[in-house]
Amino acid sequence: MLCDNCGKEPAKVHYKEIKDDKTIEFNLCEKCAEEKGLHLSPKKHPFSISNILAGMAEEVGSSSAKCQGCGLTYAEFRETGRLGCSECYGAFKEQLRPMLRRIHGSNSHAGKSPRSTEGMLEKIREIEDLKVALRQAIEKEDFEKAAEIRDKIKELEALGESGPEGGEGTDK
């Protein structure tokens, strides 16, 4: 992927913001990112590369988030406590993750699975492991390695989406 701004250098900084139901997304090379005020050093600016990369692993949630599947907003979910469809789990992933942990004391399924999803679980575990490694790389400020891991995650996730049963409601 090339930088959205200059179109020459490979994009290394991927930025996504959800505001009033609209998603703003851009992918920049390091130089253009600096120019736009997205500083690379974690010490200089709170909006640093480490935050942005961390956001790749765990997107920042928004209460105005809306499910594309059934149109349920997060605010509506908070009112009723009921999700509208299976896609809501993907749309409100970031808010649901801590909530499910609070309710169940866990975040990952350990019971039976439909026969059609056999083999998918290992892949999901691999992605989870990679996400941990990604966070570690970011903490060590080893951004080159972080980018490498991030690409690997993307690759695995893309496979999941085209495969049977996909990562329904997990990573979209």
Partner: protein
Amino acid sequence: MTIAEMSKTASPWLGATGRHSGAVVSSRVRLARNLRGIPFAHRAAAHDLELSMVLCKGALEASPALKSGTLVVMSDLDDLDRQFLVERHLISQEHAEKSPTRAVLVANGESASIMINEEDHLRLQAIASGFEVLDAWRLLERLDDDLDGRLEYAFSCEWGYLSACPTNTGTGLRASMLVHLPALVLTGQISKVLHGISQMGLAVRGFYGEGSEVMGNLFQVSNRTALGVSELDIIQSLEKVVQQVLDYEAQAGQILLRDARSQIEDKVWRAYGILRHCRKLTSQEMMSLGSAVRLGKSMGLIERISAAGLNNLLVICQPAHLQKRFERAMDPAERDIVRADMVRKIMAEEEARTSAG
């Protein structure tokens, strides 16, 4: 089996055939399942509900394990029949709505039932008599495996079976046992024990669903979490906690017999006497007297009635059951008279049977 036929027989899971059936009335397990790509029932448009109904119905009818089952659509039943199914524990109160897109399939002689378009597209349930939650699970697992592949479920490798309510997401399993704890109530230890149960990560509630007061000293103990634990782990931890509670109940029973034997005997026999000879009986009174007789039974003070007989009273003396049996609508005052007649008759039959045997 039609509803009219059902109303003439006792549910098989009331037969007190399982282990510890003096203290444990029944074991129940249910699975929540949703179809992929169709909004959950509460948010689904009429055509979505129709679609889910057609898909679920097709799958249930094609399943060899459910071949002997009877499927009924809620809009084909009158108010009384729907209430009858609630009292019979075959559908939830929420499901008893006159709707063409809600249905239930009853199979395995009422030990299995499957609701279509309840809170989730499918709610599969199995009930067994006594402390037999594992048996109930084996049956339910077989039904679930048989439906797997016939329907495409909303499932995430990370979070398991996706449910309308996040508390069910994961295995979608709720396993519960209905236990009778009169000695713990009488000795004032019940709140401590209930607190202990919730500390163990399980939930406890009274006999008929959420928010209701605890009638007849009956408590439903169930798992609270469904994600991050396997089905068997959920069942084993329920068994472990209920076994512990049953031990406490037995100890409390011993203390009562040691310290207050004559009071307990008096309480049990007075309750028996009223049930055996009354001419008017409310359901609440029946629950509480039935509990005292059951206590006497578990302490070996009384042999004139079986646990199955006591279980049976819990179900067949409910309003819809009485009206269904006598095939006419009755107001509460008339029901109390008819209920007393029924109870006396059952008690007399039990007495004749137990003295002959």
